[in-house]
């Protein structure tokens, strides 16, 4: 077991190292930050000064070396655009992102779990189709569109919710729903398939044979067991939500890390992009690692994979 964990840990570190190399060189291929920090008519001298200030005039491998050296000391550098410490910037945005993701996840499960269960046990054909289509609809609509339509309806037309920004609990509702809806279909599908798996299992059959009412079988025996893989996926998706919320964050002017990253790319703010992607990568890799290890503990066959 310990060997397995160590091996997975090694893999995770390799991925992160590859990620750091990839992101470092990728971001530098995208272009020159100096042209974005000046008006188009700015002079060559002004541009050179900016490049020099950021050390962009040095050879790439020197830049990478110093990046790694700083990284190992936990220093992600200074943002080109903001001119402040990148880690601080990231951490100041993270709470908003986590809040958004958590509420979005709640929405997603509220939609995904019941529809998934209904799809599996097929209580009623009509309800099943309606639920399925509602969950799939979230997957079918670009979230910026959902967001704009919601702003138009709930904010402008009905006037119930603030249109954008953050601060009060009401602010989080619309962006979270727009984000959560997109993930609902995935949770529905997994709920459905793991419900089916459990419903086909011996002990549910046994419960049925014992003559327990079907509703109780589903609610108590099947659902509880089917929930495990769904919650696992939810954990992975929670981390993903933090990292893919860029579109929703833009529409609702939500101050999360997604927008930080997107603007980092748009401004060619290399340190911000590197830090956001790497820290996001660490989150994703860690969650995957934990999930894999937990599964390996439950199901020893996996270790020999």
């Amino acid at each position: 077991m310990r060997r397995y964990i160590l091996r997975r840990l090694g893999f995770a570190l390799v991925s992160l190292f590859l990620l750091s190399v990839t992101i470092f060189f990728f971001v530098r291929v995208t272009g020159d930050p100096a042209v974005l920090l000046t008006e188009p008519g700015a002079s060559q001298a002004d541009l050179d000064a900016i490049r020099q200030q950021f050390g962009l005039d040095q050879p790439l491998w020197v830049q990478y070396g110093s990046f790694l050296a700083h990284l190992l000391r936990g220093d992600f550098g200074q943002s080109f655009y903001y001119r402040t410490d990148v880690l601080e910037l990231y951490l100041s945005r993270l709470p908003a992102s986590l809040l958004l993701a958590a509420v979005a996840m709640a929405f997603s499960l509220v939609i995904g779990l019941p529809t998934g269960i209904v799809a599996a046990v097929r209580v009623n054909g009509w309800w099943d189709s309606a639920g399925k289509i509602f969950a799939l609809l979230g997957l079918s609509m670009p979230s910026f569109w959902v967001g704009l339509l919601m702003i138009l309806f709930f904010s402008v037309y009905l006037g119930w919710l603030p249109s954008s920004g953050s601060g009060t609990p009401l602010h989080v509702l619309m962006p979270a729903f727009a984000l959560g809806w997109y993930f609902a279909a995935a949770h529905m599908r997994l709920t459905r398939s793991s419900m089916l798996e459990v419903l086909g299992s011996e002990y549910v059959k046994l419960a049925r044979l014992k003559g327990l009412p079907e509703a109780l079988v589903i609610a108590k025996h099947a659902f509880k067991n089917a929930l495990i893989p769904v919650l696992t996926l939810a954990g992975i998706n929670l981390v993903l939500m933090v990292n893919v919320a860029v579109v929703v964050e833009t529409v609702f002017a939500w101050p999360g890390v997604g927008r930080l990253l997107y603007e980092g790319i748009a401004f060619r703010d290399f340190p911000v992009v590197q830090a956001t992607v790497l820290l996001g990568g660490v989150m994703i890799v860690t969650v995957n690692l934990v999930v894999d290890v937990l599964y390996a503990m439950i199901d020893p066959r996996i270790r020999y994979e």
Binding site: D32, V35, T38, P40, G41, Y81, Y82, G159
Partner: protein, 534 residues
Amino acid sequence: MSRSTMPGLGALSLIINDAYSALRRSRWIGVLLLWGGLECLAPHPADAAPEGTMTWGLHVTLASRWLDPAETEALITPFMVLYAIHDAVAKPMPAGPITPSLAESWSVSKDGLTYEFVLRKTARFHNGDPVTADDVKFSFDRYKGAAAKLLKDKVREVQIVDAGRVRFHLKEPWPDFMTFYGTSASGAAWIVPRKYIEKVGDDGFKKAPVGAGPYKVVSFTPGVELVMEAFDGYWRKTPNVKRLVFRSMPEEATRATALKKGEVDIVYLLSGPIAEDTRRTPNLKLVPSKPPGVFWLEFPDQWDPKSPWHDRRVRLAASLAIDREAVNQAETLGFSRPTGSIIPRIFEYALPFDPPPYDPKRARELLAEAGHPNGFDAGDFYPFPPYTSMGEALAGYLQAVGIRTRIQTMERATFLTAWREKKLKGLVVGITGAAGNAATRLEAYVTRGGIYSYGVIPEVEDLFQRQAREPDRARREALLHQIQKILHERVLHAPIYELAFLWGVGPRVEESGADLIRSHAYSAPYEDLRLKKP
């Protein structure tokens, strides 16, 4: 120089100038400006305590570097924040493009080598420290933003005469010194408190900036929100509005909705249908500000003798094919100003030309004369990001007379880099809002040293070199006008319009500060803004 841009006021300044200079040592003669002083004489509106909150929905992402004048890049955006928190020795104000602010006056020595600034005794930083000559020198030395190298190459020494006076010694006469020092071409004249910065360091300063401007920073969340409060010790006047809040709202529809709902009072950068909706909404106002930005069509292939664009008739045809007013209506609801020059009208030394008429028939004739009766394939067309729909409209007009193009949209950074590296062929839509004068604009686009010049007309280059050495203002202007005439006659570009930057203004605002300072794109001066009395 400043005198001439303010005709009518010039004479007045001379009279005061004479009276004032008599008080000064005879060595210091020359131009002296007293606008700041004059404003002090003007009756103040009853100084009530500041009240209320004004909130902005910004199109840009608030950067920490804008809190520190030393980091001012060649970009107008930082001045949005600088005008609130900081103050400059001289800066563009409603009174004129180079208005004494922290300095109450300055004078130039006869040989043009020394500028002496007399600082205002009433000027204070937010922490109560007076603004001294020492701070001016410190701020200049510390400055590393736009034109920093240029300024530091030209300035030999900054000398502290006494606490209230500071002298800039130049290496050689430089008529554009104040154009760079006293306008938004650089941030070198914006003064930061030396003692405070030495205590807290550069990073500490960005976290808790202290300036000499009308507003103090209350809180700042980078990229999200900046909250400021009126500084009652501001020398010019106590601001009317108690609190200013800047919020970043990158999505245009979101900004407009927030305005409609009354969540913000002013939003920047509206266009097309959203601007139209704002204009139609009762209570909301659509206000244009006029930064020095001009759109034009650039013909990078014209220097290649084999290209159809080499023929002046073809370029003229392209220019005549465009209905500038229709594009203006569609994009900026008619608030922009069609033009025939790539130099903004309000720039010093600018020679304005009327926009070419919309004449597709003549355009087709010209194309036929040039040997393209059925039009021709002009290759790629690069709209300036993010003004894609405007580019699409232009390409549509060209298509209508037979100039067929393929639109290539690029991301802003990629586009700008490719343009600078002269990799863009076909047609390019250009725009710039860089501060400066006609000479600085021309330099970038039509001279040998110009970073965006694809080719150079020798005559233009010669004239440009001559004007750069010309100390006499009138003769310099004549030379620069001659360049602009040549550009116009040869149709080097097809200018489109001077861009109007549209704001939406909500019902609570009485004075939004739009266009109080000529060619400044944002609300300013903040101390003059007013909310309606409830």
